[in-house]
Symmetry: C2
Subunit: 361 residues, 2 copies
Amino acid sequence: MGAAWLCWAAMRRTIKPPATAASRRTVRAADVAALAGVSQSAVSRAFTPGASVAGETRARIESAASDLGYRPNRLARSLTRGESRLIGVAMGHLENYFYPALLDGIGQHLAEAGYRVVLLGVRSGHDSEPALAEALDYRVDGLMLAGTTLSSRIAEQCANEAVPVVLINRTAMSDGVSTVTGENFSGARLIADFLVAGGHRRPAFVAGQPESSTNRDRARGFAAGLAAHGLVLAGNETGNYDFDEAAAATRRLLRLPAPPDALFCASDHMALAAIEVARHEFGRAVGQDISVVGFDDAGPARWPSFALTTYAQPAEAMAAAAVQALLAQIERPGSAPVHQVVPGRLMVRQSARVPAGWPKD
Amino acid sequence: MGAAWLCWAAMRRTIKPPATAASRRTVRAADVAALAGVSQSAVSRAFTPGASVAGETRARIESAASDLGYRPNRLARSLTRGESRLIGVAMGHLENYFYPALLDGIGQHLAEAGYRVVLLGVRSGHDSEPALAEALDYRVDGLMLAGTTLSSRIAEQCANEAVPVVLINRTAMSDGVSTVTGENFSGARLIADFLVAGGHRRPAFVAGQPESSTNRDRARGFAAGLAAHGLVLAGNETGNYDFDEAAAATRRLLRLPAPPDALFCASDHMALAAIEVARHEFGRAVGQDISVVGFDDAGPARWPSFALTTYAQPAEAMAAAAVQALLAQIERPGSAPVHQVVPGRLMVRQSARVPAGWPKD
DNA sequence: TTGAAAGCGTTACCAT
DNA sequence: ATGGTAACGCTTTCAA
């Protein structure tokens, strides 16, 4: 019979090219049922963990299934169950190492919980709405946005359709969504303390995207920290979280009549650009002539050539927290969104002068 | 009537908590049809590009749809159409900047063609089979694997179910799959020429995963190039495409009684590790005391602190080629797989001594 | 152009 | 434990 089927399939293929994809013969539960001599429902049960099917029946079904190479169609399953087990993940800034690391963690944790990631590339500059809307069409069970913001239109859609959303590295104006962030304000304030304690008197800020909550909080924390010591910003240029723009911002700062003696960059990615410019275009010895501090503790920050002092945002922990928050809302629909702050710490390396007596760790 | 519906929906929600997700009221095409006073088929047509529906009818439908906030359910559509418009993308090595860049390009091109990416994280070490099998369950229209290999079991599955596969940065033993690679052999051979012309006499190789086709081709190309000049490898250690392992490999090489005067690393990611070790642990002036060459031209290679001489594998072009190959096979089922080699070029920077008279570009 | 109806491959309820 | 059957939300003939 298997042979007959094969023959029939072969005929079909040679006789006429399959027009609609639907006509492409695929093995369904009914086929398995027929071969195993049971009902189609039984097959369904055999593939449903924790079902009610006799051991002997299950064996016959499984054997038939593997003979036929049967795999349950998850699209159909999703349709009836009303859950796709798909999570839409929108990510900007893939060129900033923090984000791939985050994505990796998210994928990992989601996979463990039986969910798959539908990646929504977000071109900075381009509108993310179409991509998110399409994700909704796929009936994703949840949405995760990292380093991007949620338009209120989409937020409304999600609320309507009861699709939970968690924002990573951003906070929302529209409530109802969960958020996971690092210690933006307090981390930046601590960096100010650190720089002032190190004897710096002309600290400047290289900003990320000005409209992002992350940048705003880091800017405020830094300013607050300086103010506590009676200092103000000696410069403030935006790098838009972009390498080249951060390099340009650094150039502007270092060309100032009275250039800064320290640079706090709103992300490691930008801090690396700042180091490159300071070192190779202005001949500064980073850590001596000028101090550079970042935020994230992403990949290259640890490499000896940079030895970047930075406030850590543990990507893995943030991924775990975000997944946990999302799953909680999926499992208990209507539960209140959570706002989680993942603790980090100041990684003291050599890109900034270390204050005498600063606690080693 | 809209108001009445709203009221009814509200009642339903308050009366009893939705038990199964299926009971969660969602607006379907039939609802739109009812409101617009047309058949459900008409609604379907109105949302099918290039359909057959009168202008006035379409207007009524669209208005009803937007009143109700209707969006066609792509899961259901996929089920009937027999195509999911989902592509499974398996990626290893997300910590190597080449891969996020590739992923970005893939997502971009796929989105333009109306496909979405289902990301299959591949933990190196872990088995990728379960993830790929699950992707197949979702009835992905195609599979793309980058920096990972395809087990023959999965390859067989894909062949059976007529799911096209394209491998990026790997070639396959199992035929029937398309491949996209860089100029592994010739690029590596050119690097050998370059190093020999630069006066190096003790070149060593830092290998990637020994079983990968990419590593094998680069190793062979390098060896062939050296042989042409009567040289042999002065060292050969594996870094498994991993930063830390590449650092360890470099240490072993530089501790040799007669250490190499040049290092060719099978990826930029490893080359960066090699530079860090040579520079910061052995005090070598990279580009003078020792030459380091990589392969990829990924992100940090361009940064002045590394100025890595490397053979470029343009991620964007490879992504485009891969998407094109995949779509070709999806659109013309049964068409022969293609094997594309994306041309790159030697990026001459300062991490390796430049031979006198070597053509500038 | 439009509507009725038959799928698409599952799951879940209800009897048996 | 098992089978029959009605959804799930859509697309696509086929007639009208």
